[in-house]
Symmetry: C2
Subunit: 204 residues, 2 copies
């Protein structure tokens, strides 16, 4: 359970990881917290605190061994643990996520989609799109613990309930709706329109 790493810290780990991976460093290359801080637009003290949570120690006047830091971040984000996820709602967004290759670097496999529309119940990018009636069986068959909700807001709570009943314990939802779920279920909300509105309210 995150090894006690605060969520706000964990949320910055993918940024560190993307940045460090993109450097394309060799085995012994080192980097200082100051350089990382500047590149990511963060405070240096914060960066040092964040990275201390990975268990990878930097050395004064030397910095961090980039390779070790990448491994520590990957460990904290469980990139080496295979995790299966399903997508519910295979419209434009769900279909794009079924085809997206970027999940594998975190050890996540999108194994199947589910949709109520028979026209969509075929295959997308080699992945089966199944009827909603098979949700529970499919989640068990594929050993999925994670789900992504891409249905309209009005259908999101019903889908959330069905996912929890099927044994899903982590839900990422794109639906602009408040989801109620047992406190043991982790729910993260990505609302594209809301994020654009927050951005706009700061500049206009």
């Amino acid at each position: 359970m995150n090894n006690g790493i605060p969520l706000t810290t964990l949320e910055r780990f993918p940024d560190y990881l993307n940045y460090l991976r993109d450097l394309g460093c060799g085995d012994d290359d080192k980097i200082s917290s100051g350089v990382i801080a500047k590149a990511l637009g963060l405070g240096e003290v914060l960066v040092r605190k964040d990275l201390a949570c990975t268990g990878c120690a930097g050395k004064p006047r030397v910095g961090y061994v980039v390779r070790d830091l990448i491994a520590a971040l990957e460990g904290a984000l469980r990139c080496d643990t295979r995790k299966n996820a399903v997508i519910v709602g295979v419209g434009g967004l769900g279909s794009a996520l079924l085809a997206y290759g970027g999940f594998s670097k975190y050890g996540i496999d999108i194994v199947a989609g589910f949709d109520i529309d028979p026209a969509k119940q075929t295959e997308e990018n080699g992945k089966p799109v199944l009827p909603m009636e098979y949700l529970s069986d499919g989640v068990k068959k594929y050993g999925a613990a994670l789900a992504v909700i891409c249905v309209p807001a009005s259908a999101a709570q019903g889908v959330c309930d069905a996912l929890v009943d099927s044994g899903i314990t982590g839900i990422l939802t794109f639906a602009p709706a408040t989801l109620r779920a047992d406190s043991r279920i982790s729910v993260r909300h990505m609302d594209v329109a809301a994020n654009l509105a927050i951005l706009a309210s700061g500049i206009i």
Copy 2:
């Protein structure tokens, strides 16, 4: 510029707004901070502090007038100000966003897409998809201040630079890459895979 509302507070406003709008209340209906807090899984003190930032005052033992609270949240999120946005990269995700109707409730109009692929330079959902060469002209023509980057990570910085050169001041990016931009430019990052990984690291 947000009227001094802290970003973390502003980020919760769409959740309050979705919740209150979905209640379908009449003109005089009232709601207490406690009810809102419970529905959204937040602390009641936090909810009171957040809502105080909207300028809408609740009354002891009466609560907030739901309609007034909705109007105040809409004001803080500038829902009544029309804002034009462009999408760069009309693959699966970009195409889904061009078709998505959920932006209008925040006063945001997605006016055009841009893509380097001539095959995609047609129209999606009645919106023109233009060649990248027209980015600068298009941004000016449509009076767009906002852009959504849906290109692969390797192309994201180049697109970001071109957007800034064209006059865009708010950028929402889905590319898993660290973007460098002038501090006057607001950048928000939505990394779907990273969000699913953060979710997974808490439950597995």
